[in-house]
């Protein structure tokens, strides 16, 4: 019994809790991608770098607050800086739409044109972030690092293993739940949310009903940029901020959006967790878990790791390819790409 408890604690510390946090971060990112897809009908390659830009703005404001001695006590200062980062990202996204995407919308360009334009936008965002903050690894988490410490909980429970919960992980889950509930409520209940869904469902009929497409597009960018900044900041708090990593996040985020069914907000969330759990559980070395439950002579010699962490992006790739082959419209029947 004690062995199983110990094994599950290790599993919780190294697989379940990290996957939940990572999954929530991916879900917030994928929600942005899927909303852009639903309304503007293209896969936005610049989303990862929009996350990076928003997070950069959060970090700059965080530094300013820290220099002024303003903080939130046990909570990270970044939470206080978050609204400023969101404003910066929203302005950037709105400006991009005004000067890039609107041009193609007027020309009624094909979706692939938008995709390629978004690749260009991605490079511009990327460069902007690098000019302002550089390419190095930045840790900006402050306040209380742990909510539950492994050593204390181990002594309290009297087991060989303890439970560790970092505050950034708990914060990620709490913020993600609040954001998702708020988003779904507004999509389902408000006039603007319904207009967005109507526009996504049937553009011509939405026009006929007097829905202003310019407004729908604008609000979609505001929401997507907000989600991107929140997702990026939570990811940066949980791990660290490095612009290149955010560009790389695009792949698991796309995989999450496609797995859930692109254009389906609910699917993006499910997809985020599917990708996160697959990635973490396939690249985790289970040796320590096994050491608690297997008898000595059955212990494997290696780390009991299915795939090296270097290959973690391969997991997203495989999921993406499998879904597109087997069920191209995803778990929740999104649009076929």
């Amino acid at each position: 019994m004690e062995d199983i408890l110990n094994a599950s604690l290790v599993l919780a510390n190294f697989v379940i809790i990290p996957s939940l946090a990572y999954g929530a971060q991916l879900a917030l990112g994928a929600l942005g991608v899927t909303l852009i897809y639903a309304v503007l009908r293209f896969a936005n390659f610049a989303h990862g770098d929009l996350m990076a830009f928003g997070t950069m703005a959060v970090i700059l404001v965080t530094w300013f607050f820290q220099a002024q001695g303003i903080g939130l006590g046990p909570l990270p200062t970044a939470l206080l800086a978050l609204p400023f980062g969101i404003i910066a990202a929203v302005l950037l996204a709105m400006g991009t739409d005004r000067f890039v995407y609107r041009f193609y919308r007027k020309k009624r360009a094909a979706p692939v044109t938008f995709v390629i334009a978004s690749v260009g936008v991605m490079f511009v965002y990327n460069a902007l972030t690098r000019i302002f903050i550089g390419t190095s690894d930045i840790r900006f988490e402050d306040g209380e690092r742990f909510l539950i410490r492994a050593r204390e909980s181990r002594e309290w429970m009297g087991l060989a293993e303890g439970l560790a919960l970092r505050s950034s992980q708990a914060l990620t889950l709490v913020v993600a739940i609040i954001v998702v509930v708020a988003l779904f409520w507004s999509l389902q209940k408000t006039r603007t949310g319904k207009a967005m869904r109507a526009y996504s469902d049937n553009e011509d009929l939405a026009l006929l009903s007097g829905i202003n497409p310019g407004r729908v597009v604008l609000i979609t960018w505001v929401i997507a940029a907000t989600l991107a900044t929140i997702a990026g900041t939570l990811y940066g708090l949980d791990k660290s901020f490095r612009p290149f990593n955010y560009f790389m996040l695009l792949l698991p985020i796309f995989a999450a959006a496609v797995v859930g069914g692109i254009g389906q907000p609910f699917g993006a969330i499910a997809g985020g967790f599917v990708v996160a759990f697959s990635e973490v559980s396939i690249t985790y070395a289970y040796r320590r878990v096994l050491s608690h439950i297997l008898p000595e002579e059955w212990m494997p010699d290696g780390l009991a790791q299915l795939l090296s962490t270097d290959y973690k992006f391969a997991v997203s790739f495989i999921i993406l390819v499998l879904v597109l082959l087997v069920r191209p419209n995803g778990i929740f029947k999104g649009r076929v790409i």
Binding site: A195, R197, A198, S200, D204, L205, L208, S209, G210
Partner: protein, 234 residues
Amino acid sequence: MSFLIGEGMTGGYGGADILHDCTISVDKGEVAVIVGPNGAGKSTAMKAIFGMLNLREGAVRLGERAITGMTPQERVRAGMGFVPQTGNVFRTLTVQENLEMGAFIRDDDFSDTMEQVFSLFPVLAEKRRQPAGELSGGQRQQVAVGRALMTRPDVLMLDEPTAGVSPIVMDDLFDKIIDVANTGIAILMVEQNARQALAIADKGYVLVQGRNRFTDTGEALLANPEVRRSFLGG
């Protein structure tokens, strides 16, 4: 002078003209039906009246207003409702949300209009929380008509409302359309099922190659031997 009139309409989608000096009109409380063979420009005439194609010549008037230069959206605000032939409901939205979207341009309380639509189409009241895409073809057409009625239009335009529904459902839909006309709304529709449509029409237009060929009451057209022989299959 008719309430809605498209007079001497000539034009097309950019290339050659499809409509040639075509005139269509309808009065409040009346059902006017446009029939004719495939490619006669029936739907095109409807779209011209709704402002979905540019007219080279001719004019469209609604009541006392000249609306020839208005966009379709402006015409909706001016009191015209349009039900396209395909894609006429928001499939992923519930029946009630479809009606709400129909009333999007209204800032006042539209709950009484929604109740009127529900009393006209009782089946929709039952299914108000169901996505419109899950309904049967006939029910979906009712959603489409209901959505267009939410702006309380003076004119309702229907592009082949009975396309792809069974004969029983078709009769039912025609009954509903008469009910709508009886509330004082002018109804203009394009129909493939010419015989049944003319039977309920106050006014019928037979178009051939974008021109008015016969114009008369529905009854008279049904009795006209030439119309019967050429367009109604004997």
